[in-house]
């Protein structure tokens, strides 16, 4: 089992996590736990045994620690990553639904407004857009996040 320290990657550091590496995995795990939408190389991770970690620890405070071993890495690849992707796909579908329905409602509102006899019907005032979409908030990402935090023994430092 290896403990990874996850740091905020400094702009222009020239360092990125190697694609497919455990360091990259540790950073993605940190992002899932924090539930923040952050760019790909926002974080950089080093194994604790790595001399970089000590040096980085001196330079900056680590944001997270993440425990990864072969079994957990396999669980991440085979189960958790597909779940996070599908959970994000649900969020994307909600976002797409919202924007397309707002656009259609605005077109409908305009059609009423342009008419002579029905201009007093205000579509946007009658359609409960926010009420409907408040009910569409979905919690699976939160569920995943909590379990990921537990499985990978993630510690958030600040």
């Amino acid at each position: 089992m290896t403990k990874y320290l996850v740091f905020k990657n400094q702009p222009n550091s020239g360092q990125v996590n190697a694609p497919g590496s455990r360091g990259e995995m540790a950073c993605t795990i940190a992002k899932v736990v924090s539930q923040d939408a952050l760019p790909k190389d926002f974080y950089i991770a080093f194994p604790l045994e790595n001399p970089h970690s000590t040096w980085e620890s001196l330079k900056d405070t680590a944001k997270f620690s993440v425990e990864i071993d072969d079994e957990r890495a396999e669980l991440w690849e085979k189960e958790i990553l597909p779940l996070t992707d599908l959970s994000e796909a649900v969020d994307d579908a909600i976002g797409e639904a919202y924007s397309s329905i707002v656009e259609a409602a605005m077109t409908l509102d305009k059609a009423f407004e342009n008419s002579k006899n029905f201009k007093d019907i205000k579509v946007l005032e009658n359609i409960g857009m926010d009420r409907a979409f408040d009910n569409l908030e979905h919690y699976s990402f939160g569920e995943i996040s909590e379990k990921v935090e537990e499985i990978f023994e993630v510690i958030t430092f600040n």
């Binding site: 669980l75 189960e79 958790i80 597909p82 779940l83 599908l86 959970s87 796909a89 649900v90 994307d92 579908a93 909600i94 797409e96 639904a97 397309s100 329905i101 656009e103 259609a104 409602a105 077109t107 409908l108 305009k110 059609a111 009423f112 342009n114 008419s115 002579k116 006899n117 029905f118 019907i121 579509v123 009658n126 359609i127 409960g128 857009m129 009420r131 409907a132 979409f133 009910n135 569409l136 908030e137 979905h138 919690y139 699976s140 569920e143 995943i144 379990k147 499985i151």
Partner: protein
């Protein structure tokens, strides 16, 4: 104000209303308000003060009566068609969004169910896509618009519409 009775056109009938005529527009209005599933030219509009109309009424053939004047005909041609198109477009956008969401949620449910560590949770239990989008109230809007049209054209349903 002119009153018309609307009947189903006989499949054998060769006569159709002239394009742009009042009768043709009355059939379009009737199709809409009756929720008639066939095309508008599957209907026939007959001025109510004619013998044919009396005969149709006696034979219990009239589906509805509708009253129009120049102003309400212009409203139909200029306003209602555009609004109906926008309502249909809104409804189909909502249906499309429901399908997308439902499919994305079903995929997520399936992935949860087949996982070993997460199968005790079913995401769709926390969301009702159909219930949520019903909250949009678009059905009420369409109903109110239909009521306004029924009043404007003094729509009087006389018989159950054949499907």
């Amino acid at each position: 104000m002119s009153k018309y009775l609307v009947i189903t056109r006989s499949t054998k009938s060769q006569a159709i209303h002239t394009a742009g005529s009042v009768e043709e527009t009355v059939c379009e209005i009737a199709k809409n308000l009756l929720h008639f599933r066939g095309p508008a030219d599957g209907l026939m509009a007959i001025p109510a003060d004619t013998k044919i109309a009396t005969f149709a009424a006696l034979k219990d053939e009239a589906l509805c009566s509708i009253e129009v004047n120049d102003k309400t005909l212009a409203t139909w041609r200029n306003d209602v068609t555009a609004i109906e198109d926008a309502i249909n477009s809104f409804q189909s956008t909502r249906d499309h969004a429901e399908n997308l969401l439902d499919r994305a949620l079903a995929d997520l449910d399936e992935a949860y169910e087949s996982s070993s560590g997460f199968n005790d949770y079913t995401p769709s239990n926390d969301i009702s896509v159909y219930g949520a989008l019903d909250q949009l109230g678009a059905n009420d809007l369409e109903y109110n618009f239909q009521q306004a049209l029924r009043e404007m054209y003094k729509f009087n349903p006389l018989k159950v519409v054949p499907m």
